[in-house]
């Protein structure tokens, strides 16, 4: 069996520059990750902070043998943002991840990948992107295993990627909820989203943990954890497995998932180690089972009522 690709997804949160640089350096030097995503996906206002460091970060990652992917904005709303996409599409030698169809047209003819923010729900859409030169397609988080299996049947040479760890992006808006929670408008946001390194926890009025807010983005409170299904996904044809960065020790996390991908450790063992990291996490895998995404079923045989 060919080795599965282990992917470090883009940093979704507004970490400060030194934390981010340190993060990428450690991923470059200390992990067995194959692919690393850089670039801002959530909010264009955050871009100026890190853009200046990008060339160095990319170079260091490439020197360490990592494939570097530049992820693009999920919600593109104005001319300035469109122009940024045009510039990105011109960048030579970098694999670009399209997270909005606006850049798909600009990338026609060059090797690129389709990100999970683009709605690839069925064979027809999958084949369209494959025909247009997508090398890899990261599937939307909402897809159940039954759909993933159907897409694997038509994948041909295209790699299929699924996120197996981290909070799940559930929605994106023009409105900034971090700013709103602080009594601010987006235009004068003071970058308050940086106060929450893994997103701002949102509870119901009954104090049940529910969601996490990250600026324009709303994530799940739960951390998706799909190690129970990795072997099955590998058999079905999924070849790339994404970890979404959080503020816990991602070097350790990537080691654990590499071991599961290589069948050297069990999902129980992996969760045992995750729980020992003293980082508050509850797990979910409901989307894969076609039940509420917040649920955690572990075995695929259990179905909703």
């Amino acid at each position: 069996m060919t080795r599965s690709r282990l992917v470090m997804g883009p940093v979704l949160f507004h970490w400060d520059e030194s934390r981010k640089i340190d993060f990428y350096n450690r991923i470059a030097d200390e992990t067995d990750v194959d692919t690393v995503h850089v670039g801002e996906v959530v909010c264009a206002k955050r871009m100026p902070f890190f853009d200046k460091h990008l060339p160095d970060v990319i170079e260091r990652l490439q020197r360490a043998g990592k494939e570097v992917v530049l992820s693009t904005l999920a919600l593109v709303m104005n001319e300035r943002e469109v122009n940024q996409l045009r510039d990105i599409a011109q960048m030579p030698g970098l694999l670009i991840e399209a997270n909005d169809v606006s850049i798909v047209r600009l990338l026609a003819g060059q090797t690129h990948m389709i990100g999970p923010y683009i709605n690839t729900y069925n064979e027809g859409t999958f084949s369209y992107f494959a025909d247009k030169g997508a090398k890899r397609i990261a599937l939307p988080w909402e897809l159940p295993m039954s759909s993933i299996a159907k897409l694997c049947n038509v994948r041909k040479a295209v790699e299929i990627e699924v996120q197996v760890f981290g909070r799940i992006p559930l929605a994106i808006s023009a409105r900034c909820y971090s700013a709103r929670a602080h009594g601010l408008h987006k235009d004068g946001c003071r970058y308050v989203c940086s106060e929450h390194q893994d997103g701002m926890d949102v509870e119901t009025l009954d104090e049940t943990p529910f969601l996490a807010v990250n600026g324009l983005q709303t994530l799940s409170y739960h951390y998706t954890e799909l190690s129970d299904h990795i072997a099955q996904m590998q058999d079905t044809g999924v070849s790339a497995f994404r970890l979404s960065p959080h503020s816990l020790n991602m070097t350790k996390v990537s080691d654990l998932y590499r071991q599961v991908l290589a069948h050297e450790t069990s999902p129980e063992e992996l969760r045992h180690h995750l729980n020992e990291m003293h980082f508050p996490m509850s797990f979910a895998d409901g989307f894969l089972h076609g039940v509420p995404g917040a649920e955690f079923r572990q075995t695929l045989d259990q179905r909703a009522e």
Partner: protein, 236 residues
Amino acid sequence: MTESYPSFTPFFLANPFIRNAPTFLVARICHQAMATMHHRYRPVFERIAEQEAFALLISPTDLDLQFYLKIDADHPELRPARHGEEETIAAQISGPLPALLELLQGSSDGDALFFSRTLRIEGRTELVVALRNALDGESIDLRSAVAESFGVMGPAAKVALGLAEKIYRQLQHDMNRTADALTSPTATRLLGLEKRTSAQAATMAEIEKTIQRRNRHTRVKPSGTAKDDFALPANP
């Protein structure tokens, strides 16, 4: 299910009669009305009961009477509700009879009535939504349906109904005026106090239940949530 305060509509005045009316008569009228509805608007029943038959409890808040409504493509049923029937009921709709009748005829928007809290729904909301959607998909003419229910008396019934409607509108007008007069500050306060006492008892019972149900939720916010901490200043 919920105990509601009576709505002050002209139907409220009918309560003494309804209370004393023989049950069989009410049941008979209901049966006749349903038979007519089923005959005239069969597609409605087919549309809703496409997946399953189910029963609803209709609680007009201005009548001392609740109705059991069974939605079934072939054998629908409408009759006064009996005690101990709650188990078989999928959902309950409560509201003043005029609002319920408007809903039936599609002359008032169900969502709007619901947003303004005129109607309350408990239980399986999707079935009530299905009923509402199916009813709305037909042009239900209650007046001619009622007339038809009375068979040969049709034309006479129509005249009587027209007269009844006129009296009803006059009554409604008078009662609204009475209600306005009643809502003087003292009356409001007294009514409010009484309401609050019984509500507090209910709240306590609910809190106890909630605490038993889930250990992790030690604090319960039954009310006082009206404020919105996230509201931003209005548009400049």
